[in-house]
């Protein structure tokens, strides 16, 4: 299985809009946008930022990561087809603010930063966001979008969450070790 860094690099060199990404290691084939190409809503720069954030927040592990299931593409559709103008504006503004904040923490372009640097910058920002920094509410919203989109995909729901369509029974007390 390719590392998530390899996956991200593979996406970055992919040019030409939406493309089919055959994920490695038996993961399902997913249709992906490219971090280097604008979506229907996101600019190329926004798409690159969103892809990096999605990958850092929900990486590939033994289950698909956010990029494997095309969370950026999902959110591009969400902003294009679901959001109203006010939401789009607020979302775009928060992305811009987020990019600046991450650049400061990373000491340069966040989307091009070494993985360890980017991870450290986002970890710091995430901690601040969940420690009462109201200026980072936009990040919390975005993190919510990314997470919800991820678990709304088949990969996120079935492989990561072990979502079962028809459980057939209710068991209120399952030991996690089991």
């Amino acid at each position: 299985m390719a590392s998530r860094r390899e996956v991200l690099q593979g996406l970055i060199v992919s040019i030409g809009g939406a493309s089919a990404l055959a994920a490695c290691g038996g993961l399902p084939t997913v249709v992906s946008t490219s971090p280097t190409v604008a979506g229907r809503f996101y600019t190329r720069r926004e798409m690159a930022l969103l892809s990096r954030l999605s990958d850092l927040i929900i990486p590939r592990t033994e289950t698909p990561g956010a990029l494997d299931v095309n969370v950026p593409g999902y959110l591009d559709g969400l902003m294009s087809d679901w959001a109203n103008d006010a939401t789009r504006r607020a979302h775009r503004e928060s992305l811009l603010q987020l990019e600046r904040s991450l650049e400061q923490r990373a000491g340069g372009e966040f989307t091009l930063a070494e993985e360890s640097v980017a991870e450290r910058a986002l970890t710091e920002l995430d901690a601040a966001a969940f420690n009462g920094d109201d200026n980072l509410r936009g990040y919390r919203n975005l993190k919510g979008y990314i997470t919800r989109a991820y678990f709304a995909t088949e990969g996120g729901a079935v492989e990561e969450l072990k979502w079962v369509s028809v459980p057939g029974r209710w068991d209120p007390a399952v030991e996690i070790s089991s």
Binding site: L78, N84, N131, G144, F151, S165, R169
Partner: protein
């Protein structure tokens, strides 16, 4: 000769039960439904996997603003892209709230009405509920007592299927139960600590209209046990939860005595002054605007507390210039709902190594009313129950700190459990809380718009303030941390979707619309068995009571028909 033996207006919770009971007694019955037909194979969406609905299954924001501002504002959790067809479009079905007031009229116009979208919490009223009006002087005395309705509760519960546990509580009598959905460990801990610290308060599994041990009667209707999917607001292909469409209407249909006509909006009820009988209903077709008259020997109004009152008010004649069966001037008055907006939540540790399997439908726990029952001298009348539950915090939609693998996996590990409880309080009957016909504005079919004027009293406000404090106290004794309890923010009237009381029953024809059989005091072959008849709201979810009173009223009406009295 009449077209039918009986007409039932409305196919929802109570209309379905009226139709079932009437047809099973051999009457030819016409059910009039104002909305289109719901075909489960076509219209239920419970088989869709989450990834088969785009955009998080959310309705586009512009579409909400245009078509669903009130419906979505009231029940956002239930209005999804895949379920929006179960809810009316506000712009197509407008209504008006009096200046300085607001009202949530949350509806679905289609086969089975809101019985498709209800929350399925199912509780009997208790003896105290039928005596409250008499004791504290609010409203009029119920002309029935708990013992009168017990056999009908049992009959309905056996038919619909109620999952729950016997608790032996006088104020919340046990139903005929199928096995309950067992409490989680955190809920059991909450129960133990609260019941120890507050003798007289009890925590029980929510009683819900889901089949867990299907009977032969239920299987014969194609119903099967709940599969713990919690996709109920999409409809249920297993027919495991009760709705008219899953149970009563099929039961009526198999008798061969049922006719259902959809898109038939009832505009008025025909009244014959010479015989002092209603003889039929006038409808307008929602699609073609064609007007028709259907006749019957007996008429049951089950259109909802609001719509039934409006039909009466629209049915004016020389005998009833203020609306049919309205000599008391109580039609449309005493409109009640339940009131929420007070509660608390907190985290409970000690269960971090536990998770659940399956998705329990509807509620987890119920805290029956204790105020002014086991705990006296409250600074308000009557009381409230709490609905709630405890579940792992795990899947918190990204609102937990951290990134990377640990964050990702936190969504499938249980972590701390969040306990939450929210109050459902009784609203006192008040004749000034009413729905009337708007003097000028009409809908696209020419019917007057509903005009609501409903306000809470100090009793509801004080009650909910106390409910909030009680909720916090119970979570504290349970050892919860991070307890949150927002300032009380009362739900808008109507928001609990338990509207009732608009044609109350009572002993005196000059002060009430219906007698104890849900029969109009003024007109012997007119019955109203939706929430209109409720003389008080109690604090329990009311659908079970609507159905029990419907079954009882049918039994009475059929007896009168057999005796030639109506």
């Amino acid at each position: 000769m009449a077209d039918f033996d009986a007409i039932v207006v409305g196919s929802g919770m109570s209309g379905g039960m009226s139709a079932k009971e009437l047809t099973e007694r051999g009457l030819k019955v016409l059910v009039l439904e104002r909305g289109p037909e719901i075909v489960p194979e076509r219209d239920y969406t419970d088989q869709l996997a989450p990834w088969q609905s785009p955009n998080l299954d959310s309705v586009a924001q512009d579409e909400i603003a245009e078509h669903y501002p009130t419906q979505y504002g009231g029940v956002a959790y239930a209005i999804k892209e895949s379920t929006k067809h179960f809810w009316v479009k506000d712009d197509e079905h407008p209504y008006v709230a009096a200046e300085g007031t607001s009202y949530d009229w949350l509806r679905g116009y289609h086969t089975a009405g809101r019985s498709i979208m209800w929350s399925r919490q199912t509780y009997r009223m208790g003896p105290q509920d039928f005596e409250a009006n008499k004791q504290d002087g609010n409203g009029v005395d119920w002309p029935v007592r708990y013992a009168d309705i017990v056999p009908w509760y049992e009959k309905v519960e056996t038919f619909i299927g109620v999952a729950g546990t016997a608790a032996g509580l006088p104020q919340l009598p046990d139903s005929v139960f199928q096995p309950a959905f067992e409490l989680t460990g955190a809920e059991k801990a909450l129960k133990s600590k609260v019941e120890t610290a507050f003798p007289g308060r009890n925590i029980i599994p929510a009683r819900i209209a889901h089949i867990t041990a299907a009977t032969a009667e239920q299987r014969a209707l194609g119903r099967s046990n709940c599969q713990a999917r919690n996709r109920c607001e999409h409809g249920c292909t297993f027919k495991a939860y009760f709705s008219s469409l899953n149970a009563t209407l099929p039961a009526a249909e198999r008798t061969g005595n049922l006719t259902i006509i959809h898109n038939a909006i009832v505009q008025s009820v025909e009244y014959d002054a010479a015989s002092n009988r209603v003889s039929g209903v006038r409808v307008v077709d929602a699609q073609s605007n064609e007007k028709r008259l259907y006749t019957a020997r007996v008429i049951f109004l089950n259109a909802s507390a609001i719509a039934s009152a409006m039909i009466l008010l629209q049915s004016k004649s020389a005998t009833f210039p203020n609306g049919l069966a309205n000599r008391s001037d109580q039609v449309g008055r005493n409109l009640m709902d339940h009131v929420s907006g007070a509660g608390a939540n907190g985290l409970m540790s000690g269960f971090d190594n536990m998770k659940v399997f399956g998705r329990r439908p509807s509620g987890g726990i119920y805290i029956p009313r204790y105020a002014n029952i086991t705990e006296k001298n409250k600074p308000y009348l009557r009381g409230f129950g709490y609905q709630g539950g405890a579940r792992p915090l795990g899947n918190a939609n990204g609102q937990i700190p951290g990134i990377g693998q640990a964050f990702k996996e936190a969504h499938r590990t249980a972590g701390p459990w969040r306990v939450s409880v929210g109050a459902f309080g009784e609203q006192l009957p008040n004749p000034n809380n009413r729905v009337t016909l708007h003097a000028a504005r009409r809908d696209r079919w020419g019917n007057p718009l509903a005009l609501f004027d409903v306000r809470y009293s100090d009793n509801e406000r004080i009650m909910l303030e106390e409910a909030r404090k009680d909720a916090v106290a119970m979570l504290e004794v349970a050892g919860c941390s991070n307890i949150n309890s927002s300032p009380v923010n009362l739900t808008r009237p109507g928001n609990r979707i338990h509207e009732m009381g608009s044609a109350r029953m009572g002993r005196d024809p000059t002060t009430s619309v219906l007698n104890g059989w849900c029969q109009a005091h003024d007109i012997p072959n007119l019955f109203i068995t939706d929430g209109s008849f409720m003389a008080s709201s109690a604090c329990q979810n009311p659908s079970l009571s609507y159905m029990a009173f419907s079954a009882r009223a049918v039994d009475y009406a059929v007896g009168l028909l057999a005796e030639g009295k109506i």
